[in-house]
Amino acid sequence: MMSETLRVNPINCTGHGVCAELLPELVSLDEWGYPIVDPSPVPAVLDREARRAVAACPTLALRLLKSDRPSAPAPAARPPRRAPAR
């Protein structure tokens, strides 16, 4: 099943933060204001919100790219998280 993933072009991104406001389920901001984007496929239920966030980015840095992995179920509501410690 075709689905899409969100990706940020970090060269174009200026850290506006509009994406994190419109899509907090999948995007959070690091301590410098730059987006940390969930790399897994966008759940179908969030598809419209994801497109809205992509359209709202003032520098068109946020993109939806096609992947061919099946969509995951919607994530449980959770607070914006930092990048996982590796």
Binding site: T14, G15, G17, V18, L22, W32, G33, A56, P58, L60
Partner: protein
């Protein structure tokens, strides 16, 4: 300018509202670029209002042009809305209006097609805003005597001051902007300087190293 038909009043009124909207669009555009906020509103409100007001402004201008054309007291061809020097009546002032509208249409169309356009081209056309607003303003002042007296005069001065202030604000930031090659050194310097009160740096660095 006597012969007050409804069309004529409508044209003048929609013109005034369009000027107010365009002033708002201009200021909001500078705010978007500077990542500024409107008090109490989320960030997407700034970008959203900028885009929506620009479309609304064009809608008001469309009515503004149509009603002026339909008004039978003076003869203005429809084409004069977008083609300069197409009108015999107030040829210069209406031309300014047409030019300004042409620039606006270019900015809006390129913005709607932005994901298919070269970034540099989009930006170059969007910078025409600095030309479009003054030209629209000149049209507003010259095309009818409305804005040259009374409270509408104060209103138009207010709009001009707002835009001028926004431009000064933008230029001041452009002067302070750190060029790409110097950004890393700037972060180094700031970070080392702030080590005495080392807390998690919120966003001061992002502001300083803006693009």
């Amino acid at each position: 300018m006597s012969g007050s038909t409804a069309f004529w009043y409508a044209s003048r009124a929609t013109g005034i509202v369009a000027l107010l909207l365009l002033t708002a669009v201009f200021v909001l555009g500078i705010l978007v670029n500077r990542q500024g906020r409107l008090p109490g509103l989320p960030r997407f409100a700034v970008t959203g209002l900028h885009k929506n007001f620009s479309l609304l402004a064009v809608a008001f201008i469309a009515v503004h042009v149509l009603t002026a054309v339909l008004d039978s007291y003076v003869s203005i061809p429809l084409a004069a809305g977008v083609i300069p020097f197409a009108s015999g009546y107030e040829r210069l002032w209406l031309s300014l209006g047409a030019i300004s509208l042409d620039l606006m249409i270019a900015m809006i169309v390129t913005s709607l097609l932005r994901s298919h356009l070269n970034r540099v081209l989009w930006r170059a056309i969007h910078l025409l805003a600095y030309l479009s607003w003054p030209v629209a303003f000149a049209h507003s002042i010259g095309a009818s005597k409305d804005l040259q007296q009374g409270w509408l005069l104060y209103l138009s001065i207010g709009c001009a001051l707002l835009v001028a202030g926004a431009v000064v604000f933008r230029l001041a930031h452009a002067a302070r902007e750190v060029p790409r090659a110097a950004r890393v050194a700037t972060v180094f310097a700031e970070h080392t300087a702030g080590s005495a009160r080392r807390t998690k740096a919120p966003k001061e660095t992002k502001e300083t190293v803006s693009r």
